[in-house]
């Protein structure tokens, strides 16, 4: 039996170090290009979707 976690923030990817905190995995990236690349990788790995919370910060959620 495999279990998947749905509708939970699986990871946060951000360029804004000082405006992001919390318990889950947080990936700090240097610019927009890296943000896109990291999110693309995480989307594929986690089979989740990247949502833009605000410019510079994305969350990965599986639906």
């Amino acid at each position: 039996m495999s279990q998947t976690i749905e509708n939970i923030i699986l990871a946060v990817v951000t360029t804004e170090v000082d405006r992001t905190a919390g318990s889950g995995p947080i990936f700090i990236v240097k610019d927009e290009a890296e943000l896109q690349q990291v999110c693309f990788n995480l989307e594929n790995v986690l089979d989740g979707m990247a949502h833009e919370v605000r410019p510079g910060t994305m969350v990965i959620v599986r639906h």
Binding site: Q36, C39, F40, D47, M49, H51, E52, H63
Partner: protein
């Protein structure tokens, strides 16, 4: 006597009962076969799904046909075996439901539970229709002979099948093309927000391959029916079956969705077909079935809503 040999073998005075039973079973079977159309949905599956339903159809029509002689012989208790039949066919519904739910997990665009329930219900219901057809045909055969039995059975078949066929989306709503666009990360179809897409690559793919369709319900009945999530999922499934879908497992951002305009009750459908053909897509939505389980008729109530079309 044509059937004398049969009564000799069994040493029971059968009269014209075999004739009635054979006519009833045959007409019932024709009815089941006519209701067993495997179209683009490929359901029931070929060949085994079909074999199962043909076999059950034989049982159903035999039950219907045999009920008449037992009534005529005043064996009234014999009618209780119809309850066994009812139990049997309820199992058909469970079987269909279970199988479709299992398969649904492996679909790129699932049918959705409401669609599955609808299919399961149709398969149970059709067996009862076959019983009714076989019963009427056998009954008519008692007085008019096999030809009359076939004619009456055919007429009943025609009436029941017309009665049992459901309506399609174009009966309750107008379907039109709609634009898709992004505002920041938000994907819009017409003025309805569909979802938040973070990746720029996905946004480009969506603008390239996606299409938008707006379903405008004709009245409050339609808007309540279309608000059912299963109803929307079944439309997506039909679209994906016919036009294909531009996605694979592990592409979670390329997901076709349908959302509601909260003010008007319009439903905005966002689809990702492999073949980007707007006219075909609109026609598919128009022809896709209104699910029996989704139908609501607030306008038939005592207190009527005052919602009009936008």
């Amino acid at each position: 006597m044509k059937w004398a040999w049969l009564s000799q073998i069994t040493s029971i005075p059968l009269g014209h009962y075999p004739q009635m039973i054979i006519t009833g079973v045959l007409v019932g079977m024709v009815g089941r076969l006519m209701m067993l159309r495997t179209d683009y949905r490929q359901y029931p599956t070929f060949p085994h799904g079909r074999i199962i339903h043909i076999a059950l159809g034989v049982i159903a029509s035999a039950l219907g046909a045999i009920a008449v002689p037992s009534l005529l012989k005043q064996d009234f208790t014999a009618i209780t075996f119809l309850t066994v039949a009812a139990q049997q066919f309820r199992d058909v519904r469970n079987m269909e439901r279970q199988m479709l739910s299992n398969v649904d997990q492996t679909e790129l665009v699932p049918r959705g539970l409401a669609y599955i329930e609808g299919i399961a219900m149709a398969f149970e219901g059709r067996n009862y229709l076959v019983i009714a057809i076989a019963f009427c045909s056998s009954f008519a055969c008692n007085w008019t002979g096999p030809v009359g039995g076939v004619l009456i059975g055919g007429l009943i078949m025609f009436l029941l099948m017309r009665f049992a066929s459901g309506i399609t989306i174009d009966h309750i709503a107008d379907v039109a093309a709609a634009s898709i666009r992004f505002e920041g990360p938000l994907l819009y179809v017409d003025d309805v927000v569909i979802m938040n897409i973070g990746l720029k690559k996905s946004r480009e793919l969506i603008l390239e391959h996606g299409i938008g369709i707006l379903i405008r319900p004709q009245n409050a009945d339609g808007s309540t029916t279309l608000s059912q999530l299963g109803q929307r999922q079944s439309i997506q499934h039909d679209l994906a079956t016919i036009l294909g879908v531009y996605r694979d497992s592990g592409n979670p951002s390329l997901v076709p969705l349908a959302k509601r305009d909260l003010h008007t009750g319009n439903v905005a459908v966002f689809a990702l077909p492999m073949e980007k053909n707007m006219d075909k897509a609109i026609e598919i939505v128009r022809r896709s079935p209104v699910l029996e389980n989704a139908v609501r008729k607030p306008l038939s109530g005592v207190i009527k809503p005052k919602r009009h079309r936008a």
